[in-house]
C-alpha cells in the first residue's frame, strides 16, 4: 500500500456558466473504472472553489470540461490561479476545443486537451501521464 499503487486522485469540474456536464460524468466513470479516485465537483464552479478543492483533496490532476467556447479565457485563468498559490497540479481540458487553439492552451501551461472523439484508453492514458504515472495501472 505504499508508493505507486496508490490510486491517482483527480478533481473534475465545470468552470463558470456551462451546463453541459454529460461529458464530464462519462469521463468520471471512465477514470473510476480505470481505478482512479475522482473527486467530482460538478457544475458552476469558480476558480476559487476549484483551487480550494485541488488543495484540500491533495489532487494529482485537475480535469476541466468546457463546452462554451470559453477555453481560451478560462483555461489560462485556472492554470494561473493554481500557479498563484503555488499548486503544481497539471490541468487537463476536455470538451470542444478547435485545433487552432491547442498551441495557445499549451503555451498557457495546459497539460493536455481531450476532444469529443477521445477513446477510453486515450482519456485514461492522458490523465495517467499528466499525473506522471505512465505504465501504472
Amino acid at each position: 500500500m505504499v508508493g505507486t499503487d496508490l490510486p491517482i486522485r483527480v478533481v473534475l469540474a465545470k468552470l463558470g456558466f456551462d451546463g453541459h456536464d454529460r461529458g464530464l460524468k462519462v469521463v468520471a466513470r471512465m477514470l473510476r473504472d480505470a481505478g482512479m479516485e475522482v473527486v467530482y465537483l460538478g457544475l458552476r464552479q469558480t476558480t476559487d472553489s476549484i483551487v480550494a478543492a485541488v488543495e484540500q483533496e491533495d489532487a494529482d490532476v485537475l480535469g476541466i470540461s468546457m463546452h462554451n467556447a470559453g477555453h481560451l479565457t478560462l483555461g489560462p485563468m485556472i492554470v494561473a490561479a493554481l500557479d498563484e498559490v503555488g499548486l503544481d497540479v497539471p490541468v487537463v481540458i476536455g470538451g470542444i476545443v478547435p485545433d487552432a487553439d491547442l498551441s495557445e492552451l499549451e503555451a498557457a501551461g495546459v497539460a493536455a486537451v481531450l476532444g469529443p472523439g477521445a477513446s477510453v484508453e486515450e482519456v485514461v492514458s492522458t490523465v495517467r501521464s499528466a499525473a506522471g504515472r505512465n505504465g501504472i495501472t
Binding site: V2, E37, S49, D58
Partner: protein
C-alpha cells in the same frame, strides 16, 4: 511547501504537522494523504500530529444513499463556520471492489460550505466495510490537530448494519427521509439503535410526519425495554436544501456534546474509539496475512470433502503460531 515522499523521515513530516497546526491547509491535505497511505507514512503523520490533538467534537452523519447527508453536512458546517467555528468535513464514498476506483461526489452538494471556508476532504473506503475508510480515525486526528472543531464525518450511504461511525464519532446523527420504511423497519436491529440524534430530512415532502411518528414509536419502545445507557435521541425535522431546521440541529448537536461532557460518557466513548481503531487495524493486518497465506504456493488444495470451516481453523492455527 515540498511534499515529503513516503519514508522521507519523521523530520519532514514534523515540519508538515507544524505548518498544518498553524493553518497551512496544503500541509493538512498532505498529512491526510500520508494517513491514507497507511504503514510507515501514516505512523509518522500520527506521531508528528499527536502533540496538537486537542479533543475536537467528532460528529458522524449517516443514513441511506440519497437521504441528504451531504446537503445537511453542507448546511450545518456553513452555519457553524458563519458562527465563528472552524468545522472540517471528511466525506466518505465507496471504492469499487473491482477496480479500486471511486467517484467521490459529496462535494457537489457542498459549494456553500466550500465558499464559507470549511475544509472538506473526500475519502474513498479503499476496501474497508462498515461505512467508513480504515484511515478515518487517523484523519480525524490530523484535522483536530490542525485546529478544526467540530470534525464532521459523513459516511457512505448505508443500509442497516454499517454502524462503524458510532465508534469513530462522539455524536452520531442518523438521517432518514420520508418513505424510508414503516414502523417495523424502525424496530429492526442495527443502524437506528445507535443514533444519538435523528434527522428527518426532506421534511417538506409527504410522509415526513409519518417518518417522525415511526421513529417516536420506536424510541418509546426503547424506553419501555430500558435499554442500557439509553438517552432518548431528539428528532429534528429539516429541509436541508433550504436550510430549514439546521439551526435546531446545530443546537441539538451542541446539547449532545454538553450531555456527554457532564459525566464520564465522553471519555468512555473516546476510550472505546481507541480500542475500536486498534481492532480495525488488527483485522486489516490479519486479513492481509490470510490473503497472503491463501495465495501462497505451499498451501494444500482444499478438498471438497473438507469443511471450509475446519480448513479455516487449521490455517488460523498456523497463522497465529
Amino acid at each position: 511547501m515540498e511534499s515529503p515522499e513516503p519514508g522521507a523521515g519523521l523530520s519532514a513530516v514534523v515540519e508538515l504537522a507544524e505548518a498544518s497546526h498553524s493553518g497551512d491547509r496544503r500541509a493538512t491535505a498532505r498529512l491526510l494523504s500520508l494517513v491514507e497511505r497507511g504503514g510507515a507514512p501514516a505512523d509518522e503523520a500520527a506521531s508528528a500530529t499527536q502533540v496538537h490533538v486537542g479533543g475536537a467534537h467528532v460528529v458522524g452523519i449517516t443514513g441511506a444513499p440519497g437521504s441528504g447527508k451531504s446537503t445537511i453536512t453542507n448546511s450545518l458546517t456553513t452555519l457553524l463556520s458563519e458562527a465563528g467555528q472552524r468545522p472540517a468535513v471528511l466525506a466518505v464514498d465507496p471504492s469499487s471492489p473491482l477496480t479500486g476506483g471511486a467517484i467521490l461526489g459529496d462535494r457537489v452538494r457542498m459549494n456553500g460550505a466550500s465558499d464559507a471556508g470549511v475544509f472538506i476532504r473526500s475519502m474513498a473506503t479503499r476496501g474497508h466495510a462498515g461505512g467508513l475508510a480504515l484511515a478515518v480515525p487517523g484523519a480525524v486526528r490530523v484535522l483536530d490537530a490542525a485546529g478544526f472543531d467540530p470534525v464532521v464525518i459523513e459516511t457512505v450511504g448505508v443500509g442497516q448494519v454499517e454502524v462503524d461511525v458510532t465508534d469513530a464519532a462522539d455524536t452520531t446523527i442518523v438521517v432518514v427521509a420520508p418513505g424510508w420504511g414503516d414502523a417495523v423497519q424502525a424496530n429492526k436491529a442495527g443502524l437506528l439503535e445507535v443514533a444519538d440524534l435523528f434527522v428527518v430530512n426532506k421534511a417538506d415532502r409527504p410522509g415526513a410526519t409519518d417518518a417522525r411518528r415511526d421513529l417516536e414509536l420506536m424510541l418509546d419502545l426503547s424506553t419501555v425495554t430500558g435499554r442500557a445507557g439509553f438517552e432518548r435521541p431528539s428528532i429534528t425535522m429539516t429541509t436541508a436544501t433550504e436550510g430549514d431546521g439546521i439551526g435546531e440541529l446545530a443546537t441539538a448537536v451542541a446539547s449532545h456534546l454538553d450531555l456527554l461532557s457532564q459525566g464520564v460518557e465522553l471519555d468512555r466513548r473516546r476510550e472505546k474509539r481507541r480500542t475500536a481503531e486498534v481492532r480495525a487495524h488488527l483485522e486489516h493486518l490479519l486479513a492481509g496475512a490470510a490473503d497472503e497465506m491463501l495465495a501462497s504456493e505451499g498451501l494444500q488444495p482444499v478438498r471438497a470433502s473438507e469443511s471450509p470451516m475446519m480448513v479455516a481453523r487449521r490455517l488460523a492455527g498456523q497463522l497465529l503460531d
